[in-house]
């Protein structure tokens, strides 16, 4: 997968390949502060690196027209602690073929794709039909096993849409 070098919402910049030098792999998550689907995963993402110290996490705020200022407000508002980079020109999403948020990619140290898709099936944990997608893939990856389900369909808010360019409808 292509490398990315992007500014971080917390300040400074990040380069994916550099983050990978001291990790076995990384989860790159296309994300948006305006996406209600992403908001469901705030706690999961805040605690991700504690649970997976060997896996780097990088959320890329990629939604067309979302500004760094807006992202910073969201981070403060929702108490987000995971690293969020900002891609203003949509190049990262295009390069990684990400049409919506949230969409997760698990890559190894060499940025080889190991898993692509949704975090889970968007049901609640106590639902009988609840199924995790990303976690089993990480588990398989860390244990050197073939990933059973290496791709799942993701869904969510469009990263780019003509509707985002229309005049705002509320004040």
């Amino acid at each position: 997968m292509p490398d990315v070098e992007l500014p971080l919402a917390s300040g400074g910049a990040t380069i994916l390949s550099q983050r990978l030098t001291n990790h076995r792999g990384a989860v790159v998550l296309f994300w948006s502060g305006m996406c209600a689907h992403c908001a469901r995963y705030d706690e999961y993402l805040n605690t991700f690196e504690q649970r997976h110290p060997e896996i780097a996490l990088l959320a890329i705020a990629a939604r067309h027209t979302e500004t760094l200022q807006q992202i910073r407000l969201t981070v403060a508002d929702r108490g987000l602690t995971f690293p969020i980079a900002h891609c203003a020109d949509g190049r990262a999403a295009a390069g990684w073929q990400a049409p919506q948020t949230p969409r997760a990619y698990l890559v190894d140290r060499h940025r080889m794709l190991r898993y692509r898709g949704a975090i889970d099936n968007y049901k609640y944990r106590n639902d009988a039909a609840y199924a995790e997608y990303l976690e089993p893939a990480i588990d398989d990856f860390l244990h050197g096993r073939p990933i059973v389900r290496a791709e799942t369909p993701s869904f969510g808010c469009a990263i780019d849409s003509i509707y985002y360019a229309l005049p705002r409808v509320t004040r």
Partner: protein, 753 residues
């Protein structure tokens, strides 16, 4: 009056030399003309009132919005001196036409629903006003605004209730439950807050809590059919009502328990079609020509394409297909418009809000190219329905695109009839052809009701009178709605032609979207209000139709958004599948199966093993495995971010009866044989089938599935091609899938069951 005002406005425009042209792209800078400006003005004003702060800042906020909108309106015309000059005359006329249109809608709402109309209109208005807010992802901003309001006025129980409702719309069910808990502390709001909390708890799979809340809410106010419904749903998830729920609070449903030999199992996860999304349209077609039926699902976040692996499973091949980036997609209509043997895809956008529909040319290698502009199909209209047909019988597929309502104060713009020029381009000939209606079009279906060889067009209106256009055979149509007897007002939805009684004349089925309480009454009692059920118009064979739904046992009302007809149990009669639901988060309802035995329909939904809950858009029936078991596929999901749902697939556990699947390949006729009529004689009965070019959210496969019951042989299959060629195939095989090419005597057996 509306017509007169509109004509006056057009006359003023013409006198000033101002052309009224349809929008071809999104008005990114400002509304394109005065009509759109006035619509936007009232939309924004109403939205400002809806979202106004409760702490006294409401009036200034509304006033500022009004000022802003007025400024935008003038700006929309300022660039054109002619428009600016006629603005003082055009503006009042524009407001008057809009007012007349809204008045008509209210009157029709009243005519259909009587005194319950205001409540219904209020609910629908909220959804319409929310539409752009959620489309532009401004909902979290609204949520923060509500949070600020409850912080400012913590003693305002209604604000807590609203905060809970907003949180639910965003899918934040735990936060919603917390807000409802606070609201429930206010005695006047307790029953409502507990009911809403039961919904939030159900949605987050806290079924015991959901049941407890619903039961407590009913104890406070027993007259709450919605709370009763959610208690029934929660009890279902818990395996029945626990012993501590008083008998008086337990709900049983009379609907859906008819006798049937149909039994379905849910297999979407098993076969790889369980993609979560805000499912909308669904189409089954063979995109790669390998002889197997593939599946396409449209959704807010982009379309999905699933390849049929031939072993009963599917692989998601969306990424890179070119379809995955088609966001905010709605209905899907499949048609090989360029006759290259590769089915192409037309996708409508948004349905109830303006958007740009897309035509994708199938490249034959698993990818699709957006050819909308090159084909001359660009437009920015609110469209739900699209349907292919060769209306002028020249062998090339033409396309109808219906214009729906554009938001609460949106105006009906012209429907589009795109004539295929035969060179990959289309020309909109709707007005010239006489396809003009003031009513919003939500469903469209082509069918030759008078057997004159030319497909006619029925338009189902979402709010008003439905319309039937007779094809004169010379490129023009005549509106025959009134004399045909199909234009009484209703909240129509999808529609299709189907010769349910096998008399050789196409009958018309129009699904209807009913209010929430009418659906709940139907579910509980097995009978709903008489005039709000789906309509089955029997073709009298003389250009007139009679609604015979009650005679055929259709007594219930549903919020049908999609569906179609197919012989589910291979007994030789069409059954109906209804995909139901509504945009509101508190509204879900089961998909419904109405099984027909030749005399009456009966609701067999739950007996057949279908679920209690759903929100089904593209409901399609297709024999995915080619072994005589028509699967039911549902593109499920809601309008709000709260309701992403997986695609649902229900497969018959066993095959019932014998069958024949027929695939047609046109040569003189259009390649997909859309519009072809099939006559099958078996077991002493003759059935009639029509190859449809799409009729709403769901696009059936072109393959015709024909059940023949206990018959072990088929006497003959006769085909009337759109080119007027007639073919007769004697003794086709039974329990098989065959292919016939127009003009060829022989058939190919694709598969034996």
């Amino acid at each position: 009056m509306q017509f007169a005002l509109h004509q006056t406005q057009r006359a003023v425009q013409l006198a000033a030399g101002v052309e009224a042209v349809p929008l071809t792209s999104a008005p990114v800078q400002r509304p394109a003309d005065v009509d759109r400006s006035t619509s936007e003005f009232f939309n924004r004003l109403t939205r400002a009132a809806l979202y106004a702060p409760v702490d006294g800042g409401g009036v200034p906020a509304i006033a500022t919005t009004a000022l802003d909108s007025a400024r935008t309106m003038v700006a929309a015309t300022a660039a054109d001196p002619l428009r600016l000059a006629i603005l003082p005359v055009e503006l009042p006329l524009s407001v008057a036409t809009l007012g007349a249109q809204e008045m008509l809608r209210v009157l029709y709402g009243w005519q259909i629903l009587g005194s319950r109309a205001p409540e219904f209109i209020r609910e629908i208005s909220e959804v319409f006003l929310d539409g752009p807010v959620y489309l532009q992802l401004e909902y979290l901003k609204q949520l923060r605004r509500m949070q600020a309001q409850v912080r400012a006025v913590p003693g305002d129980g209604a604000a807590w209730l609203e905060l809970g409702r907003y949180s639910m719309k965003c899918g934040m069910y735990h936060q919603a439950a917390a807000a409802f808990t606070t609201a429930a502390g206010f005695s006047l709001l307790r029953a409502e807050a507990l009911y809403q909390r039961s919904v939030a708890n159900y949605r987050s799979a806290e079924y015991a809590d959901a049941l407890r809340d619903a039961v407590e809410s009913l104890a406070l106010n027993p007259d709450q059919p919605r709370a009763a419904y959610w208690s029934w749903l929660a009890a279902g998830e818990l395996g029945g009502y626990p012993a501590d729920v008083p008998k008086a609070r337990r709900i049983e449903m009379a609907s859906g328990c008819g006798d049937t030999d149909l039994r379905y199992e849910s297999v979407s996860a098993q076969i790889g079609l369980d993609k979560t999304g805000e499912g909308r349209g669904l189409a089954v077609f063979d995109y790669d020509g390998d002889g197997r039926l593939d599946v396409m699902v449209s959704a807010a976040g982009g379309c999905s394409l699933f390849h049929n692996n031939g072993d009963g499973t599917f692989t998601d091949v969306s990424v890179g297909s070119g379809l995955d980036t088609c966001v905010s997609s709605f209905a899907v209509a499949i048609g090989d418009y360029d006759g290259d043997g590769k089915p192409d895809v037309f996708v409508t956008r948004q349905g109830f809000l303006e958007g740009a529909s897309v035509l994708y040319r199938n490249n034959g290698d698993g990818t699709f190219t957006d050819v909308t502009a090159a084909a001359g199909l660009t437009g920015w209209i609110s469209t739900f329905a699209a349907s292919w047909a060769d209306y002028n019988c020249d062998g090339a597929l033409d396309l109808f695109v219906g214009a729906n309502l554009n938001g609460l104060f949106g105006r009906k713009v012209g429907d589009r009839l795109f004539r295929n020029n035969g060179d990959g381009t289309f020309t909109d000939v709707a007005e010239r052809a006489g396809i003009v209606t003031p009513w919003p079009t939500i469903g469209a279906a082509w069918g030759d009701y008078d057997n004159d060889g030319f497909p006619d067009l029925f338009l189902s209106s979402s709010f008003g009178r439905s319309q039937l256009f007779h094809n004169n055979g010379d490129g023009t149509f005549t509106n025959v709605s009134r004399q045909a007897g199909i234009d009484s007002p209703c909240f129509g939805s999808v529609t299709f032609w189907c010769d349910y009684d096998g008399d050789g004349y196409l009958d018309l089925v129009q699904y209807v979207w009913c209010r929430h309480e009418d659906m709940l009454q139907s579910l509980r009692d097995g009978v709903g209000p008489a005039d709000r059920a789906l309509r089955i118009y029997h073709n009298n064979g003389n250009g007139t139709f009679t609604n015979v739904n009650r005679d055929l046992g259709v007594t219930e009302c549903w919020g049908s958004m999609s569906g179609n007809a197919a012989d589910l149990n291979n007994d030789g009669y069409f059954d109906l599948v209804l995909g139901n639901g509504g945009p509101q988060v508190v509204r879900g309802e089961p998909p419904v199966i109405l099984q027909f035995d030749g005399r009456r329909f009966r609701n067999v939904t739950f007996t057949a093993g279908m679920p209690r809950f759903g929100k089904s858009h593209g409901a399609v029936i297709a024999d995915l495995t080619g072994d005589g078991r028509p699967h039911i596929l549902l593109g499920s999901g809601g309008f709000y971010p709260a309701e992403p749902m997986p695609v649902e697939v229900y497969r018959p556990i066993v095959r019932l009866g014998n069958y024949l699947n027929v695939r047609l390949v046109g040569t003189k006729s259009n390649r997909d044989a859309i519009g072809a009529r099939l006559r099958i004689t078996a077991g002493g009965r003759t059935q009639h089938h029509l190859v449809s070019g799409g009729s709403g959210f769901g696009c059936l496969p072109f393959e015709q599935h024909i059940g023949v019951g206990a018959a072990t042989t088929i006497e003959a299959l006769e085909i009337d091609w759109p080119s007027r060629t007639r073919q007769r195939i004697a003794s086709p095989p039974i329990n098989a899938t065959i292919r016939n090419t127009e003009g060829e005597e022989s058939i190919a057996v694709v598969r034996r069951g």
